[in-house]
Amino acid sequence: MSAPLIRARGLTRVYKLGGGDVHALRGVDLDIERGEYCAIMGASGSGKSTFMNLLGALDRPSAGELVVDGEPLQDKRPDELARFRNRSVGFVFQQFNLLPRTTALDNVALPLLYRGWSLSKRRERAEVCLRMVGLADRMDHHPSQLSGGQQQRVAIARALAGEPAILLADEPTGALDSQTSEDVMDIFDRLNTEGITLIIVTHEADVGARARRQITFRDGLIVEDAR
């Protein structure tokens, strides 16, 4: 059996604040296999967002070991982390974070800019990704001309553009109404059945219930890991 896609051992993150140290993660051990569909649950301040930031290489652990897609993230330099983010993970944010006054196509193509691809190659790939989320007819629209659900689908297409090993979604339905949330979650479900590893951070039980594994954090530790 091959090594797990994500392997965390004794993962610790301590923030130094004025009043003293805040232990956001206190030694988390976790394995996630390729193709899994996980929901990371927990109240705010439980450490789930910190864990997500570490997985996405936006932050570095204070101690412990974290290997993602074969890369030991705890000893990487900033430029190597940037490269990792560019190739191995795709982010979906609660607030979409699309560039204003930029077409859906160019928003989706953005990660490939930092891979040094030519414009035509970037757009070609972005078009494929927009089709995957059902927005082939909205490619030239700016974010302001799109509904919230459509914007989030553009963001998902952007996350897929670089063909990452993992899709990380942080409260992806937090800014959407319930019907639109359903639509977006349907896309996630479908992507997972197509083989994409999905990790969704959420505090909504019904969103978490769609995943095949629910990992619950409390006070910087995993308290429940249900399959």
């Binding site: 930031n53 936006l58 940037a82 983010r85 974070n97 953005l110």
Partner: protein, 417 residues
């Protein structure tokens, strides 16, 4: 991320905030415009002076009797024993580095033809004066040395004078009266342009020195036969001017019986040096003005820094997102740096246009406002330097905002409202 893509991103960002971008570069525009205007005017003045020097002939020396005042009160030029026709002959024959020599007497006169009169300057000289001054004729002929020797009443007329006295043309062959003495006009001078200090050289009547002396000025001095007011010589081509001046001085000291150690009782002037010295003052003034322009440019840079800082703050989330999708810190830094450089270079180009327009405007309307002798010369290298300086300001003042953008923490940047 390649440069072209970064440039495209920068242009989009600047276009989105077109008004703000324009206001930000106003300082740069003014700075570059000020530098271009002042440098162009200074360069134009320098070119004009150089052309006057070459019009005068860089190998021409002017000798007058009397010494330059040095320290205490001294007799000025023209005092002391004047030079004479005999001196001119001696210079011409005894010094082989002198290619041409001429005496000169001059007087302000009124030239009269039937029905018209015109105040002008009459110059009496030898035939070689044309060679000394590198003057040419547009019509007719110059008087000969033989005509000079016999004090022929002939004259060569300047273009301005000819136009005033003979508006219908036909100066050559006509007669002009000066002091009731008729002179036959035998030639018209070519266009001589402006003199060393801007006067009109074309307003002149040139006649043999002997004739002018005896019939017009009556210039005489006790004890000196055939005196002249000035001596003009042309040094042979290729002969060093410094050496010529020194040898001429030695020769004249002996000829004029100056005791060893005593001061010269004559002075030799190299007009090219005189004009260059005059021009040096203008150059310093030009430098001063140009540096004022450069300071404006630097102040303009502060405006750029300000607007770039605002832009970084406004686009914090965008920076966070770019970092999250794989931008390296230097990609972010370069992106903002390029934006700042593009902004400033645009300011430089606009400033260049404004500067040239202002300089041309001064050139065109200056005379109407009483500013004479203005010339404008836009040197392409100055234009390039000015745009380069503007781009340099972009790097200098864009660097801090760009580095600040690149150091943002991606997590906090993504959360920024």
């Amino acid at each position: 991320m390649n440069l072209l893509a970064a440039l495209a991103v920068a242009l989009i960002a600047l276009r989105v905030n077109a008004l703000r971008s324009f206001l930000a570069i106003l300082g740069v525009i003014f700075g570059v415009a000020a530098v271009i205007t002042t440098v162009s005017l200074a360069q134009g003045a320098r070119d004009a002076v150089e052309s006057r020097i070459s019009a005068l002939g860089a190998s021409t020396l002017n000798i007058t009797a009397g010494s330059r005042s040095r320290g205490g009160r001294q007799g000025g030029a023209g005092s002391g024993t004047p030079f004479s026709d005999a001196d001119i002959n001696a210079l011409r024959t005894e010094l082989d580095f002198i290619a041409a020599a001429s005496g000169l007497v001059q007087s302000n006169v009124t030239a009269v033809v039937d029905g018209a009169n015109w105040p002008t300057q009459m110059i009496g000289a030898n035939a070689e004066y044309m060679d000394v001054r590198d003057w040419s004729l547009s019509e007719g002929r110059m008087f000969t040395e033989a005509e000079t020797q016999r004090a022929a009443r002939v004259a060569v007329i300047g273009q301005t004078t000819a136009r005033e006295l003979f508006p219908g043309g036909g100066a050559v062959g006509a007669s002009v009266r000066v002091n009731s003495q008729p002179f036959d006009i035998i030639g018209v001078l070519g266009d001589l342009g402006a003199g060393a200090f801007g006067q009109d050289q074309n307003d002149v009547l040139l006649a043999p020195v002997t004739t002018v002396r005896s019939r017009v000025t009556g210039f005489s001095r006790a004890g000196v036969r055939d005196p002249v007011q000035q001596v003009w010589v042309k040094v042979a081509p290729g002969f060093d001017m410094e050496l010529a001046t020194l040898e001429l001085e030695d020769y004249l000291r002996v000829r004029r019986n100056v005791a060893p150690g005593a001061q010269d009782n004559f002075s030799i002037r190299n007009f090219a040096d005189l004009i260059r010295a005059f021009n040096e003052t203008q150059r310093v003034l030009g430098l001063l003005l140009a540096s004022a322009g450069l300071i404006t440019l630097l102040v303009g840079g502060i405006g750029i820094m300000n607007v770039m800082l605002v832009s970084v703050t406004e686009r914090t989330r965008e920076i966070g997102l770019r970092l999250a999708v794989g931008a390296r810190r230097r990609d972010i830094r370069n992106q903002f740096l390029i934006e700042s450089v593009v902004l400033c270079s645009a300011g430089g180009v606009i400033g260049l246009g404004v500067g040239i327009a202002v300089a041309r405007g001064i050139e065109a309307f200056g005379p109407a406002m009483g500013l004479t002798g203005l010339a404008v010369s836009v040197d392409p290298s100055v234009a390039l330097i000015a745009i380069g300086a503007a781009a340099g300001v972009g790097v200098l003042f864009g660097f801090y905002p760009a580095v600040r953008a690149s150091r943002l923490d991606p997590i906090e940047a993504l959360r920024h409202e």
